[in-house]
Amino acid sequence: MINKIVNSAKEAVAGIFDGATVMISGFGEAGSPVELIHALVDQGAKDLTVVSNNAGSGHVGLAALIENRQVKKILCSFPRTAISVVFPELYRAGEIELELVPQGTLAERIRAGGAGVPAFYSPTTVNTPLAEGKEIREFNGRQYVMEEAIHADFALVKCSAADKYGNLIYNKTARNFGPVMCMAAKTTIVQAKQVVELGSIDPEHVVTPGIFVHRVVEISNPADESKLVAENVKYHGIRQ
């Protein structure tokens, strides 16, 4: 029988291996699966390639994962925020790699990964340094750059409600990268503010159909990452 609900964040992130590619939802703090990321800090997998729009703020969530030296490389559109301290320091020290990807290209490359499209053409970055080394091709008199799909071994995603089939709905702009990341990972791990009965999400309102989701953990009182950042909280993992 199908039941994707697991009992803890620890159980949810089990099996994430050294060297894995991990997508992490969120646009800044909105939609960032803080509890899952902290469970991954505890779990300790290293040499990770992370795909996420930003590179974390303060010393919690993705920033804590980076600070714990678990991330080898990050693909993101905007690693610099007013309160990002961890990534800039490691980046300047040459201790973390960065692949800078425009935000829309990042979203579309992830969707392509989920949709079985190995590559597509985009007008974004043509004639800019970010197109360097990429194939340029003309369609109808305009130039486009070829962009390849991004796949992941795991996705860590935050949503507002989930059922045991893994159907998801999101809250407002916390939706952002969640739906496409769910599609593009071999194992999609979701933290839901609420686990609801099968049938309580109207089939017309489902945003991520359960087929894209493998594990769901209920985190009914997720931390407000922006508050943790403002309070300068540091997450060092339970082993320290």
Binding site: M1, G113, G114, A115, G116, E204, P209, G210, I211, F212
Partner: protein, 217 residues
Amino acid sequence: MESDNKNIGWSTSEMAQKVAMDIYDGAYVNLGIGIPEMVAGFIPEGREVIYHTENGLLGMGHVAEIGGEDPELVNAGKKYVTAIPGAAYFHHADSFAMIRGGHIDICVLGAYQVSEEGDLANWSTGNPNDIPAVGGAMDLVAGVKTIFVITKHTTKTGESKIVKQCTYPLTGKNVVSRIYTNYAIIDVRDKQLYVRELAPGVSFEFLQKHTEATLNQ
């Protein structure tokens, strides 16, 4: 070749039952139009299977009861169906993202011909008088992890449907994993055919005699 012997082998229902036995608990399944649709009726107790219909529904339920038909709730064969609790509706591009992206576990399709190497021809007989129509068949064989074919072993005129090379236009190359016919269940592995199970009354020799392709025991 001699014509189909009606007295031996499995009935269509038995074939569908054999397919159903191979659909595991928790599988996401797309059933082609026609005989493949019968498979849903034979899933063993205790297994939960979620049906995808490419026109935009995951969690398709049984066919609608008379009087309960909704013209806006149909399956890929345009039959009136129902949705289970926990279903989801989505648009066509999202639906085929599930297919092309390798998210559907099993697809069961009919066939005109299957080749030794697992090539499938099921969309066109190549007859120039036919109106060409492909629907979602090529997307399904290109995208779904495992393709099961359910088909009569021979045509109405007794010709083998399991052939050395498809003579009909292909739906996809090297795509079929297993073939369920009225005579046998045949696996495609490493571009060769292996008989997995023979129907009652069917010998390997009889099967090979009715099969153009080379079979392995």
